[in-house]
Subunit: 149 residues, 4 copies
């Protein structure tokens, strides 16, 4: 399976993403990053219940975000189609980060970053990443990741 399948996503800017300046509200970008991360795992073949807690499935490992950032290059308006390019990277046995590049009409619009740490749900101590996340990280980095747009 080609990493492009799960590392190159699309979405459209919606009206509720904008603010009274007429463009995407900056904080929405971080929500898009997380939704892209979830969609990537889903397309790779991982069930949400393996990674994200639900009322009936307590997880032994949680993956809280410890850091995030975003840079904005160009305003995005309602209806703009975007491509989102994800670059996941393992940092150490218990952590990883995902870089996100948002483009519209072939022009870079924004970048984002989320950094995740594995912790034991009960003890709240650091622990190794879940096997499913490791598979996704490894497959994402085979062949040098996706090709530049």
């Amino acid at each position: 399976m080609d990493p492009d399948t799960w590392l190159l996503l699309c979405r459209t800017v919606r009206f509720g993403d904008t603010d009274a300046a007429g463009v995407m509200h900056f904080a929405r970008l971080l929500s898009w990053c997380h939704e892209a991360y979830e969609e990537s795992l889903e397309r790779f073949g991982l069930a949400a219940a393996e990674i994200f807690p639900t009322p009936t499935a307590a997880l032994t490992v949680a993956l809280p975000i410890v850091h995030c950032s975003a840079d904005f290059r160009r305003p995005l308006v309602c209806g703009d189609p975007m491509t989102i390019e994800l670059a996941p990277r393992r940092l150490d046995p218990g952590g990883f980060e995902v870089s996100y590049r948002f483009s519209t009409s072939g022009q870079p619009a924004a970048t984002g970053l989320t950094r995740h740490l594995a912790i034991d749900s009960r003890s709240r101590q650091r622990c190794p990443l879940p096997a499913a996340i490791n598979r996704w990280l490894e497959a994402s980095n085979l062949g040098g990741g996706i090709q530049p747009l």
Copy 2:
């Protein structure tokens, strides 16, 4: 204690509440309703952990919203100060609703409604309202609720 203390609240429209039409995005009103409901319980003296689940405090009774609605009379812009008048009402031993009236500069701007049902967290069957919610409902209706603005 005067019901006005916990049934008459204030908030300001923030930039992130608006959309590209320059005014409050309609869906935000429902978020404001829930935040007003939470602030009302807090001002009445109930700890959030008695009513809302947290990772360490499993609750025996959940209060899911089964219905909500909102009507919009007048556009709200960034910086508008609002008063929010709450009118909680018990529907039956296992349910209640809260009406919300939003005003700005003395003019009605919008109304909202949330209807809540008590369910046993484990069996997911209907059950009586928690005692704390009953105290809030009763105290809120003493003396005919808050006076009209």
Copy 3:
């Protein structure tokens, strides 16, 4: 073109849609309704800039929501795939409403409703619906709308 193309949509519940009860936060449903309405217009062939304001395209007609409601039948958890069935309906020459039915695994999960009014952007007085919206309303109601699931 078959109305199913633009009146039957899909989305997945994402982690940021949930709250500490482990299920979709009620107010998110109204955001999904609006995003489904936007996606429906887009799939029908209308450019967002014809309907929604952008910094460079002032619109002569605005379509504010004057009423919304939602009913919740079943909790939705992170990763749940949903189908969204839209039923747009003209109310009079200057207004329309859209009903939304959310289902997951073939079971009804929630319904929503948004009611929209056409107003002249400058005078803020009621006016006829834009021609593009009328085309979408008419095409959506040809042949009795989409077939029940």
Copy 4:
């Protein structure tokens, strides 16, 4: 007027701020940062309409965010009272940044940063900061800012 008045704010974590992990959803922190920035300007005495666009008040200078980041130290649960300490800083005649420190029960919980650029609304070219923002920046840095908590 003591800078503490507008640089030391309070808010409570609300249910809609949490996700199914039971704690504050990371992206909400950036929304809180912006709301704290708005509340700070308001308490300092600036009207929202001087800084943020509204349908009736076109602004000559926009202040888009070009960068943001956040670091998370400790999970925040529904009902947690927080203090938010703001530290605004001019970067050059056409830009500034604001650092935010969130604490709960006297313990650091998270930090945030937003970087803003002044641009001419019409030409979209960089321009000097509005006088009102300069007054707020200067007053905020008199006497070394607020005292450490």
